[in-house]
């Protein structure tokens, strides 16, 4: 049944070949909302208590001779990712309404194609199918960024494309290596690959780990594989940046949980702290750089680098706290970063600049924008009773359980984030009006609703996060027990 999540948008994206003009955005919105409704329906019929593994499964032989099948399904973790994806895509489409892009049909068609690819990544339970969807998502996002982006977009996005694509090839090698170790006639299914991994010796697991890790590390990105990210986020059009930061980087984090840890089980469950250290360096590094940036998008980009480092670090602790914290933080980071880029986009659309030295005094002119922006900033700041705090608390707690000093260093994000986020907010919103902000208009109804939805999610998921945990609880407990079982 879950296969519809792939096919509805996939076929819908073909429709855009026959559409001209501004019809595109309405159709795109309708289909993305249809997908959202369908994923909510899946949620309602999902059995969160079941420990039977994947639900809503489908399995069609694809390339039978080498054991590739078109199979997929959802467990608590991937269901959350599906919900996040299909919640954010309509928001992203709506966010572009105020500034219709050139060739709207192509633009929205690519977004819908992107949605199909993203859903595929989170649904696939076959290694090669996962890889195929993983690469499919790169194509529409590259066109979106390279065609509709800002100044200097072509060299920047080509670098992005080649960098992530090269990383992915390492994953393909890693997957094939595993495949060759699967029992019997060889098979790419998730279960088979896991069995293959169990038969590997220490050196073999090292190879698999680092090859696959590289693909995810580039996509997330984890320092030092991140240098494509700040530039790409900056030059991409707002919907592109939101897709990249809100959903696409979650592919990498989700990948670590589903397609990396189980493939090097003995390695990762034996106090393997190197990736944690790498991630924590990223937490501090990204936050530190964000302090002195003046382009709002750059601040958001480096802040995202810092935040996702913490998520990945939590996963590698292999504790329940770390995994649950990571999963909920993926959802919350997706909501917050999209909100952040949305606010930045709305300001840029009105003033024509993202430069903090040119902005100021927006609070006087646009109170609605200021208040909603504040709530989103608070979410990013991880103030308690906002959604950002829930994940950050669990993640830091999980790192603490590994090592107190690592937790203290990762905890610097608490301070750095306050420094750069409040600097961004204060310089843009407070102070005196400048020549750029003197005529700024407040949000219109559509924009208010859009930002309002995000702000509301920031608060609700912070005050009462347990329902989200309940979705992924069983899946994570099962996952953690099988992984750490010797």
């Amino acid at each position: 049944m879950a296969v519809l999540l792939i096919f509805i948008p996939l076929f819908a994206s073909l429709l855009f070949l026959f559409i001209k003009g501004s019809m595109g955005k309405t159709i795109a919105l309708s289909f993305s909302v249809l997908n959202l409704i369908f994923s909510i329906y899946l949620l309602s019929s999902f059995d969160a208590q079941s420990d039977e593994g994947f639900q809503f499964t489908f399995d069609q032989p694809w390339v039978e001779s080498i054991g590739i099948s078109f199979c997929g399904g959802l467990d608590g973790i991937s269901l959350l990712m599906i919900l996040l994806t299909n919640l954010l895509v309509p928001i992203i489409i709506l966010s572009s309404y105020g500034k219709t892009p050139e060739y709207p049909a192509a633009f929205y068609g690519l977004i819908i194609l992107m949605q199909a690819g993203l859903n595929g990544v989170f649904i696939a339970t076959d290694g090669l199918l996962f890889y195929v969807f993983w690469e499919i998502t790169l194509i529409p996002i590259w066109f979106i960024c390279a065609y509709w982006g800002g100044e200097n977009r072509v060299p920047v996005t080509i670098k992005f494309f080649i960098y992530t694509f090269a990383g992915s090839l390492f994953m393909l090698v890693g997957l094939i290596y595993l495949y060759l170790n699967t029992p019997g006639d060889h098979n790419f299914s998730w279960e088979a690959l896991q069995m293959g991994a169990r038969s590997l010796d220490a050196a073999g697991q090292q190879i698999v780990f680092w090859f696959i890790f590289l693909a995810f590390a580039v996509k997330i990105p984890i320092v030092p594989f991140h240098t494509w990210q700040p530039e790409t986020y900056t030059v991409s059009p707002a919907p592109g940046t939101m897709l990249l930061s809100g959903i696409m980087l979650k592919m990498g984090i989700y990948g670590i949980i589903r397609w990396l840890l189980p493939f090097a089980p003995d390695l990762v469950s034996a106090g393997f702290n190197l990736p944690i250290v790498l991630c924590i360096i990223g937490v501090v590094y990204g936050g530190w750089i964000a302090i002195k940036q003046t382009d709002m998008k750059k601040i958001a980009a480096y802040s995202s680098l810092s935040h996702v480092g913490l998520i990945a670090a939590g996963i590698f602790t292999l504790t329940i706290d770390g995994l649950q914290g990571a999963v909920i933080q993926m959802v919350n980071h997706g909501i917050n970063i999209v909100g952040l880029f949305l606010a930045i986009e709305l300001i840029e659309r009105r003033t024509g600049t993202r430069d903090l030295t040119k902005l100021g005094g927006i609070a006087t002119k646009a109170p609605r924008l200021s208040v909603l922006f504040m709530i989103i900033v608070l979410g990013s700041l991880a103030v308690p009773l906002t959604n950002g705090f829930v994940g950050e608390f669990l993640l830091l707690k999980s790192i603490y359980s590994i090592n107190i000093y690592m937790a203290a260093i990762a905890g610097l994000t608490v301070i750095f984030c306050a420094v750069y986020m409040l600097r961004l907010y204060n310089l843009a919103i407070f102070g005196d009006v400048t020549s750029y902000t003197v005529d700024i208009k407040d949000l219109n109804t559509r924009e208010t609703i859009l930002m309002g939805i995000i702000a509301l999610l920031v608060i609700i998921l912070g005050v009462y996060p347990q329902p989200i945990f309940d979705i992924s609880k069983q899946a994570i407990e099962t996952f953690q027990t099988t992984l750490t079982l010797k």
Partner: protein, 624 residues
């Protein structure tokens, strides 16, 4: 009552939501009524709680599970006991008075509704902080009050400097919060729970980890309660409207650190090293802030340093294990410092926004109610016998004496400093001749009733609250000790001898008289006005520059961190890390260029290649 407890924080929250969303469209009286009414409601409910705690003892009200993940279970629950009801009464009681005062003080401000919305949000957060039944809920409130403090310090957001002060406050608080957060993790790891009941019950079984836990918690307290080294944000926080300074930066929020330690007293009793640290930090803060206070010329800055110094006092009490004494001083300080701040607000209001005491003087006539109430506040804070500060401060001194003579002596010197800067302030503002402009003189007026009534109520409280904790030579019944006994059961009590008490009493009366006389002589009889900052020399220059602490922090921390940020971006990120990536790409490109040379379109070369290839294949096939 347990069913209604949740209303106590919820009412101010509702006030925040209503005024925040619709306040702009509501008339000002409605906004004020909603804001004050919700706090009054919470106050009444708090009184009911107080009554129930007295009649039937403490109780807990569980609302829902916030998170329940693996072994991590955190619930939203309120613990209503002696300590929390005492704090609730202070917060909602003084909070109500200050809300009422703000109606007058902020009446002409454009952000009237915004101000009340923030103020209600603050009360909500502060109530969460003290009512929670676990460290997590305390942390919710802890960060919440920090946020409100940020919003209110930067309330007049058009002023860039105020915005900087607001950020400074939030960031310094966050440094402390990281310590507190690590402390909470450690409690979790050690005790498997962060519910107060579970932690304190098992405290003795984990005696070896409490020292570090206590120090980490205290780092949080340093930030929130403005202790060395994290105190520099509080004087800057005076950028906020004066009611905010009274409520947040004097009476309630800054005492959260005291509450944290008293709440965790079971842990601190077992951690002599942490307690010792607290005592020294408190002592140093009391002394240093006291000396800086002497040279300040901004009416609110004097009071701010005084607050820092008084908080240092409370930490000394905590450090020597006198938890109820610290709470006693917290209570009396809340009354007289709120009174003094509101009084200063009334002065500033009357002076048309002027805050420099060198331009005041002789305000006694024009502001009679403000004058009398401010005088009462001054008498209370300096410890003039039978005003509230006298009781609580002497109790701290007595407890310090029980600990060591040096601590006692230094603390006594700090209280001399308090008397000096407070009477200096009083005389410069209210006595002598008016030194402001002609325009200011004509404008001078007493504040409206909504502002003077809270002053009068607080003045009464600041006068009589001390009788809640009478020393042994006056009465056998120390009401507050008796009331708080269930909270601090494990702590030992030191009883100073009556001889000591009488000696201290006698000496302090004489010293106070000398100080009042000489300060009056200096500033009134000789009518000396403090010099401008530039004219200062020597040590007084150091003092008026606050020991250059801000400059030192700037050089030691802010500048290097910013420089490193630029370095990381420009050099490490753009050149080294990205340089390596680009050079890999460059290598690929260069090797492609080299290989391309092979394909130059000359058929002769292709033939040579083919023949060589065939030969190689033959060689390999037949001879290897």
């Amino acid at each position: 009552m347990a069913d209604l407890v949740y209303l106590i924080p919820l009412l101010p929250f509702l006030g925040f939501v209503i005024n925040g969303l619709a306040g702009k469209r509501l008339p000002k009286p409605v906004v004020a009524t909603i804001a004050c009414g919700t706090i009054l409601g919470s106050f009444i409910l708090s009184i009911l709680c107080f009554k129930q705690v007295i009649d039937e003892g403490a109780f807990t009200a569980v609302l829902y599970d916030w998170i329940s993940v693996g072994d991590t279970h955190i619930q939203i629950a309120f613990q209503i006991d002696q300590l929390s009801t005492m704090m609730m009464l202070i917060i909602t009681g003084i909070g109500f008075l200050i809300h009422m005062y703000s109606d007058g003080y902020m009446h002409h401000d454009d952000g009237f509704h915004r101000f009340f919305a923030y103020l209600n949000l603050f009360i909500f957060s502060m109530l969460l902080l003290v009512m929670g039944s676990n460290y997590m809920l305390m942390f919710f409130g802890w960060e919440g009050v920090g946020l409100c403090s940020y919003l209110l310090i930067g309330f007049w957001y058009k002023n860039k400097e105020f915005g900087v002060a607001a950020r400074k406050a939030f960031i310094m608080n966050r440094i402390g919060d990281l310590g507190l957060l690590l402390g909470i993790f450690m409690i979790f790891n050690t005790f498997g729970s962060i519910e107060y009941a579970d932690v304190f019950k098992n405290a003795y079984a984990h005696g070896d980890s409490t020292n570090i836990i206590c120090i980490l918690l205290f780092v949080g307290a340093m930030g929130k309660s403005a202790q060395i080294p994290l105190y520099t944000w509080l004087p800057d926080a005076m950028a906020g409207p004066t009611p905010v300074s009274a409520l947040i930066h004097a009476a309630t929020m800054v005492t959260a650190g005291i509450y944290l330690v008293v709440r965790s007293n079971v842990l601190y009793i077992m951690s002599p090293n942490a307690s010792e640290l607290i005592m020294y930090v408190g002592l140093a803060t009391a002394m240093i802030a006291g000396t800086i206070g002497i040279k300040q010329n901004d009416i609110k800055k004097v009071l701010a340093y005084s607050t820092v110094s008084q908080l240092g006092y409370m930490f000394v009490a905590l450090g020597v294990g006198a938890y109820t004494t610290a709470m006693f001083h917290l209570l009396t300080h809340a009354f007289f410092k709120a009174l003094l701040f509101l009084g200063s607000g009334s002065v500033i209001h009357g002076m048309g926004g002027e805050q420099d005491i060198r331009k005041m003087g002789g305000l006694k006539k024009a502001l009679p109610i403000t004058h009398i109430t401010f005088l009462i506040g001054t008498l209370a804070i300096t410890g003039v016998p039978f005003f509230s500060g006298f009781f609580s401060k002497d109790e701290i001194l007595a407890m310090a004496h029980g600990h060591s003579d040096i601590v006692f002596t230094l603390l006594a010197m700090a209280s001399v400093l308090t008397a000096i800067y407070m009477f200096r302030l009083y005389f410069l503002v209210f006595r002598g001749n008016f030194r402001g402009t002609h325009h200011q003189k004509e404008h001078l007026h007493e504040s409206p009733m909504s502002m003077t009534i809270p002053l009068m109520v607080l003045a009464v409280l600041a006068s009589v609250a001390g009788f809640l904790g009478m020393p042994g030579w006056m009465s056998d019944n120390h009401i507050l000790n008796h009331f708080l006994h269930p909270i601090v059961e494990g702590s030992s009590h030191f009883h100073p001898s009556e001889f000591f008490e009488y000696t201290v009493l006698g000496i302090s009366i004489v010293v106070l008289a000398v100080i009042i006389f000489s300060v009056r002589n200096y500033y009134i009889t000789k009518s000396i006005v403090p010099e401008s900052d530039e004219a200062e020399t020597g040590f007084s220059k150091v003092l008026s520059h606050k020991y250059y602490i801000d400059e030192i922090y700037n050089t030691l921390f802010v500048k290097p961190i910013e420089a490193l940020s630029v370095f990381l971006h420009k050099v490490v990120d753009n050149q080294i890390v990205d340089g390596i990536v680009n050079s890999i790409a460059w290598c690929v490109k260069q090797s492609a260029n080299l290989l391309r040379l092979l394909q130059d379109g000359k058929l002769e070369w292709y033939m040579v290649g083919m023949v060589a290839g065939v030969l190689l294949i033959l060689v390999f096939n037949f001879f290897m």
